[in-house]
């Protein structure tokens, strides 16, 4: 032992520590994220496609191709993000800072809408509010004898309402987290200075949480402008186009280069807003408050307003979570959505093919296409969960261990790049990237592999974030102290890292699974009849007028998402056995 440090045991360090790892991760990220985007741009710059730019931006059709959809898109973005910050901020304030009744329940309910796919709410809206404008089935309210005006049944207004009811929960999560860090000392110091409720809110709490408000607003904006399902289901039937539905339409009719140009412009718009939001936030000093003692914040006493405000919150939350679920379930059982709650039948679920019923389409349990789509969707979810967590862990480990150098900064930046890219544009980019053969590699269009690769790349920001949380839990000195004992990388992995990180990894993987299972915008362009996924099948049924099947499939997706989310939450919150005291 005494002379173990014999010179013969040393080794030459050829590269600086981490160089190899950094290079590998960087190459991987470039291949997954940067190349598809570059390839899309290059595609539109070829001699025979470059015309698409002038067609879209200045040609005779440009008004319909681009400027009208752009106007709609921006209107949606601005209205939805403002409404979301107001609604989400109001609920966050109620939950975190006041003594409103049922605070905890409101807090849990407010995070749910984001778990529900946005096309679920759009479908539910249709089941309730459809009128006879575009033919097909009538909604329940018309069935009750109410006359639903066109503006409430179709187009911009329902799109705005549905998107707001979906994205406000994102704003809630961000703002509530920021409010929770407002140290109770800050509020108490203001109280001692003699400030009253409103003064504290305007003078202390609002300024401190401004970065969170801006961040919430810009994320909701980016989400709303890139959303595809809601404007497609509620707007397209009355020819209301947004950039994302235009992009979809162009590619569907084979005008690929115009579609790509619109996609690039959509990326630039949503990216510009996110960037601007980020600039506003980072331009000012960070107010991240250091919470030493988790003192109990004194809650604002709402006095007489307690129950009325609770009722307001209840209306918002019930209409964004409970009603869509009830309506979708009922409508998957009712032969006519005008009579949602009568003549229920299980045909749409369990029925055999019957030519007199729904053009002979069998119930979803016997429908081969749907069963196949279900298996593919679940397989896709699992595969992306694994590959996503793997790449995410690798990238976050690399940047955590080797912080210095431009390569680490580049890895971080690139891994968050997909946040700027709307799902449908990312899907388009992947068609441009892997749709045609690259050298010896075959074209991947219509294969499972394409879906997995695109899904992994698209969800990388999320998996890197999860991976970073895991690494923070186990990284640093815990891992170093194992390295010092001489344990090999594999041994450290299984004896130290995995046991400590397994719950976090599992929870992160499940959440990725949920995100991919309920995603529509990314896969809607990658979909082929040979490689169907549930969300696209549901969308197709809905646009062909078979609302019941669409709704039944959506209920299945909802069930899978909610169950998986609950398992993930369980894993995250349940304390580890060795931490139990």
């Amino acid at each position: 032992m005494a002379d173990a440090a014999i010179s013969g045991q040393g080794r030459r360090v050829i590269f600086r520590q981490g160089t190899v790892l950094k290079a590998v991760v960087l190459l991987l990220l470039v291949a997954l994220i940067v190349l598809p985007l570059i390839r899309t741009v290059l595609f539109t710059l070829q001699p025979d496609t470059i015309e698409a730019w002038s067609d879209v931006l200045s040609g005779r059709l440009s008004k319909n191709l681009f400027y009208k959809p752009l106007g709609n898109t921006l209107l949606i973005g601005v209205v939805v993000s403002m409404a979301c910050v107001l609604l989400g901020g109001f609920l966050a304030w109620l939950v975190v800072m006041t003594n409103v009744p049922f605070r905890k329940t409101i807090g849990v309910m407010a995070t749910l809408p984001f778990m529900i796919p946005s096309f679920a709410a759009a479908l539910a809206w249709g089941a309730l509010f459809r009128n006879d404008r575009v033919g097909g089935q009538l909604g329940w309210l018309e069935g009750l004898g109410l006359d639903i005006p066109n503006w409430l049944a179709w187009g911009m207004v329902p799109t705005l309402i549905v998107l707001t009811l979906h994205y406000f929960s994102l704003a809630f999560t961000i703002i509530a987290a920021a409010l929770a860090t407002v140290n109770s000392d800050l509020v108490e110091a203001a109280q001692i200075a003699g400030a009253k409720g409103r003064r504290i809110l305007m003078g202390i709490i609002l300024p401190v949480t401004t970065p969170a408000l801006v961040a919430a607003g810009s994320l909701c904006f980016a989400g709303a402008v890139s959303n595809f399902a809601t404007p497609a289901l509620l707007g397209l039937p009355v020819r209301m186009q947004t950039l994302s539905t235009r992009l979809f339409g162009m590619i569907e009719v084979g005008q690929v280069e115009r579609g790509y140009v619109i996609g690039i412009l959509l990326v630039l718009i949503s990216g510009a807003f996110l960037w601007a939001g980020n600039r506003i936030v980072s331009g000012r000093r960070s107010y991240a408050t250091i919470t030493g003692k988790g003192g109990r914040a004194k809650r604002f006493d709402l006095r007489g307003a307690r129950w009325p405000l609770c009722a307001v919150a209840a209306v918002i939350l019930i209409s964004s979570t409970v009603i869509p679920v009830i309506v979708l379930t009922a409508s998957s059982l009712a032969p006519s959505s005008a009579n949602l709650f009568s003549n229920w039948t299980l045909h749409y679920w369990l029925g055999e093919s019957d030519p007199s019923f729904a053009q002979g389409i069998p119930g979803i349990a016997y429908n081969e296409d749907i069963v196949r789509a279900l298996t593919i969707t679940l397989g896709l979810g699992l595969a992306v969960a694994f590959t996503g967590m793997f790449v995410g862990l690798l990238a976050s480990y690399t940047t955590a261990r080797f912080r210095e150098g431009w390569a680490s900064a580049a890895i971080t930046q690139i891994s968050f790049l997909p946040l700027l890219v709307p799902g449908i544009a990312f899907g388009a980019a992947y068609i441009a990237y892997l749709g045609a053969p690259i050298g010896p590699l075959p074209a991947l269009y219509g294969t499972f592999a394409l879906l997995v690769i695109a899904g992994t790349a698209y969800l990388l920001p999320f998996s890197v974030q999860t991976g970073r949380a895991v690494i923070q839990q186990v990284g640093g000195e815990l891992e170093e102290s194992a390295r010092i004992t001489g344990a090999s990388f594999v041994r450290r992995l299984f004896a130290i890292t995995v046991p400590l990180a397994i719950r976090g990894l599992a929870a992160g993987g499940i959440l990725i699974f949920v995100k991919i299972v309920r995603d529509l915008s990314l896969v809607v362009l990658l979909f082929t009849p040979t490689m169907p996924v549930l969300s696209v099948v549901a969308y197709r049924y809905a646009s062909e007028g078979f609302g019941q099947f669409a709704n039944a499939i959506t209920v299945v997706i909802l069930f899978i998402s909610i169950a998986a989310t609950m398992i993930a939450n369980r894993l995250q919150t349940k304390s580890q056995p060795w931490l139990q005291n």
Binding site: G10, R12, I14, L478, G486
Partner: protein, 352 residues
């Protein structure tokens, strides 16, 4: 013998450790002392093999273990050293016994030897009764002992400590200090200990390297540092209370000492005069060598009184026998002895 030769570590353009050369004999207790950010932890991490030096060598017992010039290093596990982390870095999913045993398992020590060695070190650190607890079930001081037990179990010939006592409360810190010195005698391992606390350095070390801005300011025994500080930084960083450093500037034909003309002939026009706190006295009236200061602190230390005055950023401390009559905030006269204990140049280097 532990030798460090011309060791340098650069992070990008920043030089964390600059051209450090130190050597200590086997069994020494070397303390790396300095303020935060002085490079002492980086130096320790290079000794442990966690960082590769940018230049220079580290040699344990005649065997080079790191060579920055040739980009050559021995793996952390193969250099026969052990590191106790500041955060302790106990693996939370293993019991106390598991934490101590795992490094031995990795070394492929036979099971029976392993059990014997584990109970031996647990007894040595007086934590045998905690063997089956998990790290979160024991106190900070006990976690500290487990971390040390885990590190000494494989019998490393070089023991490295990264500010091990900084997370403990004052009383426990004093106890652990004694404990660590006992352990050092018991194991005989050459120990390198990083701290910013000069009292720890003065009480525990056989050798101290005082570091600042990545350089070793002075290397010597604790007594050397107190008796003969090489730089103004060392003179004011080491010792309780620290030495007084009074600026002397040429003014016309005479010299201003602490802003006041005094009959003193410095070795240079612009320099610093060092006075030990015990050489200073207080006076009731202004005299030829008094400086009037605002009284800011008094405290009783070992039967004597430590008095601190402040004026224009100059801080003076005297150790006297009686509490001054002036109250905090009032003006008192500090009386300088006729000659300072040392002179330092404007650049901080010692002159005489």
């Amino acid at each position: 013998m532990l030798e460090i030769c011309n060791l340098t570590k650069r992070f990008g353009n920043f030089e964390a450790v600059k051209d450090v050369s130190i050597s200590v004999p086997d069994g020494a207790f070397l303390v790396l002392l300095g303020p935060s950010g002085c490079g002492k932890t980086t130096l320790l991490r290079m000794l442990a093999g966690l960082e590769l030096p940018s230049a220079g060598q580290i040699v344990f017992d005649g065997n080079p273990v790191s060579d920055g010039d040739r980009n050559w290093t021995v793996d952390p596990a193969k250099r026969n050293s052990g590191l106790v982390f500041q955060s302790y870095a106990l693996w939370p999913h293993m019991s106390v016994r598991g934490n101590v045993e795992w490094p031995l398992k990795v070394m492929r020590m036979p099971k029976a030897d392993r059990a014997a060695r584990v109970s031996e070190v647990l007894r040595l650190l007086d934590i045998a009764q905690l063997a089956d607890r998990y790290p979160n079930e024991i106190s900070g001081g006990q976690q500290q002992r487990v971390a040390i037990a885990r590190t000494i179990a494989p019998k490393p010939s070089v023991l490295l400590f990264d500010e091990p006592l900084s997370n403990l409360d004052a009383k426990l810190r004093v106890e652990m200090r004694t404990e660590l010195m006992r352990l050092h005698r018991a194991t005989g391992a050459t120990t390198v200990y990083v701290t910013h606390d000069q009292i720890e350095a003065m009480t525990m070390a056989t050798h101290v390297a005082v570091m600042n801005h990545g350089r070793v300011q002075q290397f010597g025994t604790p007594a050397d540092l107190v008796d003969h500080p090489e730089t103004a930084f060392v003179a004011t960083f080491v010792g309780t209370p620290p030495n007084n450093m009074v600026p002397v500037v040429k003014n016309g034909t005479g010299f201003k000492v602490g802003g006041r003309h005094m009959p003193l002939i410095p070795p240079a026009d612009d320099c610093l005069a060092m006075y030990r706190a015990e050489a200073m006295t207080l006076s009731d009236i202004e005299g030829e060598t008094t400086l009037s200061m605002e009284l800011v602190e008094t405290s009783a230390i070992a039967g004597r009184i430590m008095v601190t005055g402040l004026r224009d950023g100059l801080r003076l401390t005297a150790i006297v026998d009686r509490v001054p009559e002036a109250r905090i905030g009032e003006t008192i006269q500090f009386c300088l002895p006729p000659l300072p204990d040392s002179w330092f140049g404007h650049d901080g280097e010692r002159i005489t």
